[in-house]
Point group: C2
Chain length 210, copies 2
DNA sequence: TTACTTTTGTGATATTATTCACAATATATA
DNA sequence: TATATATTGTGAATAATATCACAAAAGTAA
């Protein structure tokens, strides 16, 4: 089974499109429709599915419900995923209260910071001292953490998370963090995303000018 | 000149690493060092540079200042980039006040919403009615917009932005938005990023178990 | 039932991206 | 100055990814 990051990203996107199509009343779907929704080719869709032995019916397409279930299984979404956030700044608290995760079975169970003014031990999603992270992570069997601290603190935070048993980090600090064999780190760099967009907009404007 | 999105993303990352290395006192840099900082190979770095005719000195490496300047020119960062945000929810207001953009020459000049309770005409970064977006965009020659509205509203917002003259959209709504020849849309899907991470963490845990 | 049409599933092929490998050359050293 | 060494720059080779194209199967219509 040959997979790669892009392929898994597409699976997520297929799923999200499937929920939407389902809510519009569709029961079955063709690779063509999914391809449209996610802006890929229909052979890409079928190839992705074949990698994971997802099969439909020739001429009958795929049953949406089955498809969603299979994709969820592949993505490991059978059980609720508990996630912690480190860094309760603007972005951190926005993500903390972001409602989009719950429908995907992802729950932010706690946040951590070093600023005592931000501690909220009694809240539904508590904000706790960073020093308590290792114990919390072990007790609650947390695997995933989101980093939303400033770039200068990010590597230090990783050094605390790894021995605590965190296996996956989604890093929003604008610095490329290094994972290891025991921990996967994915970086989401907002500045880079915007710069990228700016580049292609400039290309667009220049080519139009011709 | 053959470019692609990944290559441009790497340029941004090189630049960010260069700022860091500069602040540590470095003046010259080798492809090796940059490769380390961004987690790519040194030939990747040199290849990327050669695509844009960036050259260093054999045995002398690259001068950091020149490199930063050249990359900024390529990325179109010669002048301040004015950006608007549509959707002043949790994520929107976090991005609105996110300080990381300014050092990259990106300025959020206004935000828009449909909820009158959110309007702040007098603020430094005003929150204005969505209806005023087209006029504002034209008057201020805005090219870039960030979408942080719910998925259900995102496509409608795009339909307002395109005729107003927006050329690039960074979309945070969890739905794949479609651009056209006149407008580039890049999607950042937080749910997808997290799901992706969860997948690879599960793979990690399974393989370790063996 | 039979012929026709549509859609899947997948090897073969094409395209794109990355790494290799090494000549060219700038700098350092003796 | 001559020699040794490190590093770039880039074609060639390799690897990764996506598309093509078509046989096989399943539905539809007559």
């Amino acid at each position: 089974m040959k997979t790669n990051k892009l392929c898994i990203m597409r699976l997520s996107k297929y799923k999200s499109a499937l929920y939407r199509l389902k809510s519009l009343g569709f029961v079955r779907i063709f690779s063509d429709n999914l391809a449209d929704a996610v802006e890929v080719t229909s052979s890409q869709v079928r190839k992705d599915f074949s990698i994971f032995d997802i099969s439909g019916n020739k001429r009958g397409g795929y049953k949406i419900d089955e498809l969603i279930e299979k994709i969820n299984t592949i993505l490991g979404k059978d059980e609720l995923q508990k996630v912690v956030i480190i860094g309760v700044g603007k972005l951190g608290s926005a993500l903390m209260h972001y409602t989009g995760f719950e429908k995907e079975g992802i729950k932010i169970v706690a946040a951590f910071d070093i600023d005592a003014l931000k501690f909220k031990h009694k809240d539904k999603t508590p904000v706790l001292p960073l020093a308590e992270l290792p114990e919390f992570v072990r007790k609650n069997n947390i695997k995933i953490g989101i980093i939303t601290v400033p770039a200068t603190a990010a590597q230090q935070v990783v050094e605390i998370m790894l021995p605590a048993g965190i296996k996956g980090v989604l890093n929003f600090a604008p610095i490329q963090l290094r994972g290891n064999d025991d921990c996967q780190i994915n970086n989401v760099n907002l500045e880079v995303e915007l710069e990228n967009l700016i580049y292609f907009v400039n290309v667009l404007i220049k080519t139009k000018g011709k």
